[in-house]
Amino acid sequence: MIEFEPVIGLEIHTQLKTGTKMFCPCKTSASEAPANTSICPVCTGQPGTLPVPNMKAVRLGVAAGLALGCEIREVSIFARKNYFYPDLPKAYQISQFDKPLCEAGSVELDIKDAKGGTYTKTVRVHRAHLEEDAGKSLHALGSTQLDHTLVDFNRCGVPLLEIVSEPDMNSADEAYAYLIELKKLMQWIGVSNCDMEKGELRCDVNISLRPKGETRLGRKVEIKNLNSFKAVKDAIAHEIVRQTAALNLGETIAQDTRLWNEKEQKTVSMRSKELAHDYRYFPEPDLAPLRITAAFKEALKQEIGELPKARKNRFKTEYGLSSYDAGVVTAGKGLSAYFSACMAEVLTLKLNVPAKSVLNLVSSEFLARLNGLKKDSVTLDPGDKDLISPANLVIIAALTAAGKLSASAAKTVFAKAWETGRDAQALVNELGLSQVSDTGLIREWALEAIAANPKAAEDFRNGNEKALGPIVGVIMKKSKGTANPAAANSVIRELLK
């Protein structure tokens, strides 16, 4: 059997976060609206109408390009992509063809390998261009198949950025990581919400296999109808298995477009590429070339500020975090701002606490509660009064790090502080949760614990280290979690010697 290497490229459509459509003043918030209520003569292709570009969309497109490290064309050209379909009212889509807004960027990914380590992968971005969405064709209402087709033009004309990668990915995991990274970037700079369920992000996969070591590309298959990140990953995994099996049987892969069938977890052929459309692209005569000045780009760069990768690197050097940890707190712009605010409080309050301790609290207790408030790491605001204040959080972290608060007591204090917004130190005092390191007191608890667990004590004496656990457990219970676990440990060892 020959070993094959999958070669994967992704075409992603993200909906740009504008209030109005790409070429007319209709609202874009129409995915929830009743069918055909957010439409006008322009987006329904009435005779005589003309497109007027949405400059907010252009701005977001350039911002996305900059975040992807792309070159932004000084002059880019809108082009018509001609084809007939009932949900395409002008019989052409205004897109960009040979002169797209953004070209030649790249995204760097940290990917976990099979052995539990991580490696870095760079995926090049071929291009990113602006275009308008088509309408939605409904062939069924709920589960009832219709004998006709209904068309909803609400989506028609919604601004999209199509981001096309180079075929640089070689596994389902890499494709998945690319999607996650792209979503993070788009959300970070506020270009798109990338909510796949709302159709704000759509992904088509191009995949081919070739014998390992071969440099030429194999026959390419396109997979569509991927409705979640997981579907993308599953479909690729399936397609690798399917194509590998076929190639090993000596079959050739048909160059076709396949649909992912979620239910049956397999791809099915939709149409052969041999019947591919000739879209007859040509420059859109109704629109002037799009000119992006250096000053515009520069101003936008300033506005975008630090990108996740730069922030992650800064966190690594500034706070001595590991790459993984720095990745955790830069998963969203809001979360990274919160972490920054925490570290600023550490300085202000002159606390002696390692960044890692602050991070542990942020990535466990803090993040666990965020979802409950229907907030997320992208949009959260460090000054939000519903959240525990950064100062309060770092005080808990500092008390824990100094051994004045046990891990379990820290949890209790965090929960109270989150609920009430009250000062952590006051809560510690009030709840009597200060960690006890006084060996005299611990010794008393330990003697009681050994007396209550003769069996465990016996086992430990006989060399069973694990037997220590239940005895420590009793001490923690008796001390309401305030006993210093390390001190308790050594006292028991002393007593049972």
Binding site: P41, T44, G45, Q46, P47, G48, T49, L50, P51, V52, P53, R80, N82, F84, P86, P89, K90, A91, Y92, V151, D278, R280, Y281, F282, P285, D286, L287, A288
Partner: protein
Amino acid sequence: MEKATEIARQVKEKKISAAAVLERHLKTIKEKDGKIGAFLEIFENSAMAQARAVDEKAAKGLPLGRLAGVPVAIKDNMLYKGHKTTCGSKILEGYVAPYTATAVQNLIDEDAVIIGRTNMDEFAMGSSTENSAFKPTRNPANTDCVPGGSSGGSAAAVASGMCPIALGSDTGGSIRQPAAFCGTYGLKPTYGSVSRYGLVAFASSLDQIGVFANSMEDTALAFSVISSHDPKDSTSVEYPQGDDLSGAGGLKIGLPKEYAAGSGSMDAEVTRVFGETISRLEKLGAKFTEISLPHTRYAVPTYYIVASSEASSNLGRFDGIRYGLSVKGAALSDVYKKTRGQGFGPEVKRRIMLGTYSLSSGYYDAYYLKAQKIRTLIKRDFDEAFKNVDVILTPTTPSPAFKFGEKTSDPLAMYLSDIFTIPCNLAGLAGLSFPAGVSKDGRPIGAQFLAKPFNEAVMFSLGSELARAANL
């Protein structure tokens, strides 16, 4: 023949009512249009309501617009909310405009009265109005002859006094050629000076709305009303200050040598009238210089590739799905084939096929791209020429109006009748056809000024001087 400037003045001074002006013109239409066939529909009710509203405004002493009470006809490819727009095509039969074109709105805002929509070659494709899906329009000067096209209805309406002003659209001569055939003024403004919003697109990079009128003054007035920067049309611009040129004295007029030499088919009568026009302008003090526009010989083929390519895309929306003619079929592709097969006439189909072919993968470079390159060269020819001359003079057409059926069997001969008008659209210039004389058998003959973009004023000033000199 009533003048728009005169009507507006009298309505403003309350010497006549807009309603009376409208009545008179409706009467003329009733008398003449049975024979001429200029109009596809008279907007009698809405026009009367508009006229009465103007009179009410006048009665209240409110300020009136520059076209107060002036009846204006619009070509059937401009949208006027609540009224039918068909582009002279079966495929849009019954289509009611959901909004109003900017140029039409500009007329309404100046208190003009929109009197009706005029006949045209289907989708503005043609040079005789014979391609209308509905009826022929006859040339008022000689009813055996065509009025020209594609804006034949507008030209015939103005020439026969049914309305003092009509709007047309000019993609390759569709205003200037019928103006010459019918003996009116016909202005193709600089590309971008009049909004195309609400003009059903034929060839987006060439289309421009313009004016028919019986006097230079009316033409200039109507142009100043319809010309505006429209945020709804990204290709429309704020009209810049043009060169300050007044009077023919000392003006340098260019005569392209290719326009005389390259047209062996030039009619003797056209040659005679053209020579007389030159003498008249010389008497007014203009200086003539021979200029060269070497790429002119490629203008017609270039035009038919560019215009047809854009048209093949622009006309895709007429698919039977949302509006207009819709013919049922077993499959979606049948709906498209049947609707478009039955809805479009032969000339429109010919151009859609030509354009589709030119844009097809594998042919794009050889046709569309090559044509765009030649278009740039043609524009450069004019840029060079305008370094030495203020305005260019050419005949508008190689011959006076031809007879019905004379060129319908030979599309190429029909295409070549636009040889003098097409380069102006390819280069985005301003063009004006003015009545220059008549043939021995009484058919009008026009001549054409071409000016740099946004230099309509120089053509208007020359046109006025010529008219004054002729009246003396």
